[in-house]
């Protein structure tokens, strides 16, 4: 039991990461609309809808178009299911004089709530339930909760949204480790105990490992969503220069021989470097247009698509990877301790 008392956090990290990895790759993606093609056919609006994961042949549908101000709803008059993921919807001719733009909503009995903001080319995120009010509630069978937990559907991202639990997590963990490294540097400057300097430096080394992983996972994601492994983007460039700052820190450490001097100078540089790092990663990208979510007017994930299922995986992933980072750092620290003692005896 005493082993568990001392090492519970390592076990926790293994359990968390196993669960996160398992669920990240096995949970299905929620259904979604991938494309809408509209054809006007005398007095009727015919829309061909491509969906993803919706299993249309086995569910009942409810569809309507909503104007941006959500006051004008057009309910469908008929639907022809063409395949599992393709359906042709018939609407009465919309009143184009008052509202030119409409969003498309679909609800299925399998718990899928599908939304396409751009059905008639206008970007707007609406409230799903707006089309039905208290006086005219949803039919009951459409109100069933999701039969299974699912990851949110996002256009462009599709299945690659699973990467969120790894890519974003890597950067979160990097920043957490660097924050702790800075704290240990401050503690070193106040106490002048060499152990704090080691902690700070090993935390930076571990953080650089996570940075590398973050760049690799981000690169794969970029290839699948933006079409290239690397794009000229302030967030990406900031990440690289931020990494350079810390490589310079490691170079500084390697160029000084005396322990105390190395500890003092690198602690001073480390504190400065962390502030600059935060400026690079969090402040600079907000000044220019960026493709990356969370910058230049792009909403971050949490704004609309980090739903509760994804959150339940995302936060444990951060905790799990942070604990793994601490674990790696602890191993390095032990090794250093042994080396130091052996050298001392010589």
């Amino acid at each position: 039991m005493s082993v568990l008392k001392k090492h519970w956090w390592k076990a926790l990290s293994v359990v968390l990461l196993t669960l996160v990895t398992w669920f990240t790759f096995t949970l299905p993606l929620a259904p979604g609309i991938t494309g809408v093609k509209q054809v006007f056919d005398d007095n009727k609006l015919v829309v061909e809808v491509d969906t993803y994961n919706a299993d249309l042949e086995n569910v009942e549908l409810l569809c309507w178009l909503t104007s941006p101000n959500q006051k004008n709803n057009i309910h469908y008059s008929g639907a022809t299911v063409l395949s599992h993921n393709k359906v042709r919807l018939y609407f009465p001719q919309p009143d184009t004089t008052s509202h030119t733009y409409y969003h498309l909503y679909m609800v299925t009995t399998k718990g899928g709530k599908l939304f396409y903001p751009d059905a008639m080319s206008m970007k707007h995120i609406g409230v799903l339930d707006a089309a039905y009010d208290d006086a005219n509630p949803f039919p009951k069978k459409f109100l069933v909760p999701d039969h299974y937990a699912s990851l949110p559907f996002q256009n462009i991202l599709y299945e690659s949204i699973r990467n969120l639990n790894f890519h974003v997590t890597m950067w979160m963990v990097t920043m957490i480790l660097l924050l702790f490294s800075t704290i240990y540097s401050i503690i070193y400057l106040r106490t002048e105990k060499l152990i704090h300097d080691w902690r700070a430096s090993f935390l930076v080394e571990t953080a650089m490992m996570f940075t590398t992983l973050g760049i690799i996972t981000g690169s794969i994601w970029a290839k699948n969503t933006w079409g290239a492994y690397w794009v000229n983007d302030p967030k990406l460039n900031g990440a690289v220069v931020g990494a350079l700052v810390y490589v310079a820190y490691l170079v500084l450490r390697s160029s000084i021989k005396e322990d105390d001097k190395r500890a003092r100078l690198s602690a001073v540089y480390n504190i400065f470097a962390f502030v600059i790092y935060i400026v690079f990663i969090q402040v600079l990208p907000r000044f220019t247009d960026s493709l990356h979510p969370g910058n230049g007017g792009n909403p971050a994930f949490s704004a609309y698509d980090l739903d509760s299922t994804l959150r339940m995986l995302f936060y444990p992933a951060i905790i799990g990877f942070t604990l793994v980072g601490a674990w790696i750092t602890q191993l390095k620290l032990r090794l250093k301790n042994i080396e130091y003692q052996v050298n001392d005896e010589d």
Binding site: V241, S255, L265, F280
Partner: protein, 199 residues
């Protein structure tokens, strides 16, 4: 030392002129200008510790507090880098026949002054670290280059907007950001320098 860095800067400007004779693009103008200021900054500020004689530093350590020392150094370097940057701008205007009358003067001066102050503060600090590490300019350059980049990006952008007299609503955020970065840098330097100073 000052004449050294002045000569270095003038040589840089003339080299740029020889390599590219007509510089009509404001963006290129801004980039080349700030690169030459960075060169001058490395000459002037990053070396300011290694240029002090050992005896003088020992004497100063006994009679002066670290804050007095670093602030006098920061003020000296900031003033001289600003003067140097202004001279470099004059040289750029002459060789590339750019009329400064076209520019937005307030933001132009703000860009040059704030950019030079930020550069000099960061480079003086990093030069101090490099000097304490007992290393020549090489380590200072490795430590300094990534760290000066945020200020450099802001001042390059601000300078570019000022050259083209682009409306102040666009560039005012950059000026504020540069000002905030300056305050942050000087605050950090004043907190951290005493630890660098004690041997």
């Amino acid at each position: 030392m000052i004449s050294q860095s002045l000569l270095f800067m003038v040589a840089t400007v003339f080299t740029i002129y020889l390599l590219k004779k007509d510089l009509n693009d404001n963006q290129l103008f801004s980039v080349f200008y700030w690169i030459s200021v960075v060169f001058g900054g490395f000459q002037l500020c990053a070396k300011s510790f290694s240029n002090e004689s050992q005896e003088r530093v020992l004497w100063l350590k006994q009679y002066v507090s670290p804050l007095e020392f670093i602030f006098s150094k920061l003020i000296f370097n900031a003033i001289f880098l600003s003067v140097l940057a202004s001279l470099a701008f004059a040289a750029f205007c002459i060789v590339f026949s750019y009329s400064p009358l076209e520019a937005n003067h307030i933001f132009l001066v703000a860009a040059i002054m704030l950019g030079a102050i930020n550069l000099s503060a960061v480079l003086t600090f990093v030069g101090g670290i490099g000097h304490s590490a007992g290393s020549a300019l090489g380590l200072t350059a490795i430590l300094g280059f990534p760290i000066i980049l945020p200020g450099l990006l802001f001042s390059t952008r601000l300078f570019f907007y000022a050259l083209g007299d682009i409306s102040s609503t666009v560039n005012a955020p950059y000026a504020y950001a540069l000002l905030a970065l300056n305050v942050l840098t000087i605050l950090l330097v004043s907190v951290l320098f005493p630890y660098l100073w004690r041997e």
